[in-house]
Amino acid sequence: MEELLEILRDMHPDVDFETEEHLIDNGILDSLDIVSLISEISENFDVTITARDIVPENFNSAQALYDLVRRLEDEG
């Protein structure tokens, strides 16, 4: 989780990712951020996030994103 938070903080230092739960709904992460984020995640974790996974529910909070990464890791 800490690794993921670091990636997010690197993109938007001014956002409190531990409490923010509307990253997409509030327009904090836009489509360009999401693509950068996916590329960072694939670089640091052994998972592939595809276009199918890009729905607000998976990206609205750091926790949701972390859950997605864990789920994809489990699916292998």
Partner: protein, 530 residues
Amino acid sequence: MLFTSYGFLGFTAALFLLYYLLPKRCQQPLLLGASCLFYLAAGPGYILYILTTALTVWFAGVRMGKNAVEASAWLKEHKEELSREERKAYKEGRKRVRRRWLAGCLLLNLGILAVVKYLNFIIANWNAVLTAAGRTGQLSFFALALPLGISFYTFQAVGYLVDVYRGTVEAEKSPLRFLLFISFFPQLIQGPISRYGDLGKTLYAPHGFDAKQVSFGLQRMLWGYFKKLVLADRILAAVMTVVGDVGTYQGAYAAVGMLFYTVQLYADFTGGIDVTIGLAQALGITVKENFVRPYFSKSLKEYWRRWHISMCSWFRDYLFYPISTSGAMQRFTKFTRKRLGDKIGRRLPVYLSSFVVWFSTGLWHGASWNFIVWGLLNYAVLMLSEELEPLYERFHKRFAVKGKLWYRLFQVGRTFLLVCVLNIFDCYATLGETVRAIGSVFTVRNWSVLWDGSLLKLGLTGLDYGILAGGCALMLGVSLVQRGGSVRERIHEKPYWARFVLWYGLFLAVLLMGAYGVGYDQSQFIYNRF
């Protein structure tokens, strides 16, 4: 059948009566019949195109859905017997089959769109290359008519197909229900490009007569007609005069043309969508919003989140994300990060994918270089502002202007002017004329035409300007009030007499101030031609 024709009003009224008078089980067949009739009115031959798209996409969807269900059941049954790798290999094998259905169906339907919409454009460019190279043997053009709403219904069908492939919606089993989704007439000719998961929720449900929903729907239609008939069709005369003769109308005239076209485009497109959403609402069906006060945007990026939302989100979900997150792009990212460093390597995939999206967005609007350049200019501005982001941050750290009213107004004004300039690429006959007109704003000094009466010679009288000013003020006022919630809900809370005066007044305004008159030509909606 144009939304502004008497035929359409009669057709809608008849449908409306039957819809609520007949038993509820008749509503779906009635809507489908009405949609087919609406389509047939455009020309009997066109219906073959939409039927081909509907049937092929429906069939491919059913096959993909069946494949996914069978795969899931088989895996459940054999879960204990298989290793993780075997399960993965099985899943991949079944997915490959679904991918073939997806690719084949996409190829067919996007191929049809490409041929009818772009073949002659490709031939024209090929011929131009031959001429430039001094070669003879020009290719001749094909007599292809563009089927009504093909860009909209093809995209809607493709969105559904990809959603079924991704497993985010279940495949529709009934071909007739699917045909209704594709051909639902209020949104057939200018969108919005609905998602099956959204529209399907209310499209197939039986609807009882709900007086509030029906009156809200009709009120929204009336507001749409006001924008289209009183404002868009009135200002059209001046826009046509200015863009029709770039040699005469330069400098201040060209600037006025840009401003007027931006007003026309807003009134025309949002007005048309108001009619669509209002009509659907009167029938109990929810069509998603396509605009959120776009001209209040503080940047071009924000503007594209608030203007033609269904098209933008289509390009984002079905083109931008698939390209930018594809395996090839991920490998390319790794490669560029290694060779060019993190900073550039991180940006390149986004910039490449965005380029494809904006090129396609331009091309979607029309088979012309005007539209392609318009798309790429949007791309250039968006990417430039991305690059300048650190500079903005430094500026805002130094000067505490962010959030102040005057600065927000400045940002809105700046974005509006930018949109005015970009929009004009729709209008002039050629790219050369567009560049000449924009250039003339900076080189030709004739600003006195703004106050010496010259503007009264553009096809608009003083009364027309008065009506336009009043109408624009009303649109602005409605948008400002809308920020605090639904305007119709607020009006609904007023006493009966106040509501009557307001809606009857708007009705009279459409009737008396609509741009009809002698020789009135029902202008088609701008987005009908896309």
